[in-house]
Symmetry: C2
Subunit: 115 residues, 2 copies
DNA sequence: ACAGGTTACGACGCACGTAATCATT
DNA sequence: AATGATTACGTGCGTCGTAACCTGT
């Protein structure tokens, strides 16, 4: 009984407004990368090709392209240089690469160490 | 993407449904933890209270409760012992704690090191 | 009785697939 | 023209909020 009332209504959230629009603008703290995005970035950076990476990931290349673009928007920095129909890592991309690898591999080893 | 405005509204990030209507293959590895889940786990583990953590996270306690339960399902191991109306970390939970902290803090430092 | 955790249910919106278009060789 | 990146559009599924329920002190 008491539970329903005490939870009341939440407002300004730090992330996406899900169920109902809680606040007018959710502008708040820093947006944080998700592991899935980092995996996509790694796959594309590894092949320097969205198409090849999409095949490896078993997903449409449009979806992968969108994901990479979104990630760049979130970071506020391009990770790839698309000049000349070829993909090349930017300075920011090269900086992100080793960190992303470490970040992506951690949960895997973590899961295997659990019973 | 979801309409014309979805692209322009940048901010949230996360995972959700993958409208996978791909072929019968689509073999994916084991379900992997997302950073959002780890943040929730850390908040609950820190307060040893779903209600308090939910207030801090500005979200409903039911949503947080669901998220933690789902995470435990994914790991195949309970992270909290709910006996006696109190929350206590299980052995697996204690094992996960330091790793989760490292994992969650890494992207933050990564972002600040970018131009 | 109350505080807090869980279950039930509906809604909102992202991640993704398909299709069409643009760009480079 | 072909290969590949991007844009446009529709949508299934997951996440979260509200409400109701359950449990321990």
């Amino acid at each position: 009984m008491g539970g329903a009332e005490s939870m009341s209504r939440a407002e300004p959230m730090s992330h996406r407004g899900r169920g109902r629009t809680l606040g007018p603008l959710s502008r708040e703290g820093p947006t944080v990368l998700e592991l899935r995005q980092l995996k996509y970035f790694l796959a594309v950076a590894d092949d320097l090709s969205v198409a090849a990476a999409a095949r490896r990931l078993r997903m449409a290349q449009s979806a992968l392209s969108q994901a990479v673009h979104k990630m760049e928007r979130q970071l506020g920095t391009p990770l790839f240089d698309r000049a000349g129909g070829r993909l090349r890592l930017t300075a920011a991309g090269r900086l992100l690469l080793p960190e992303a690898r470490a970040l992506v591999d951690l949960p895997r080893s973590l899961l295997t160490s659990l019973p």
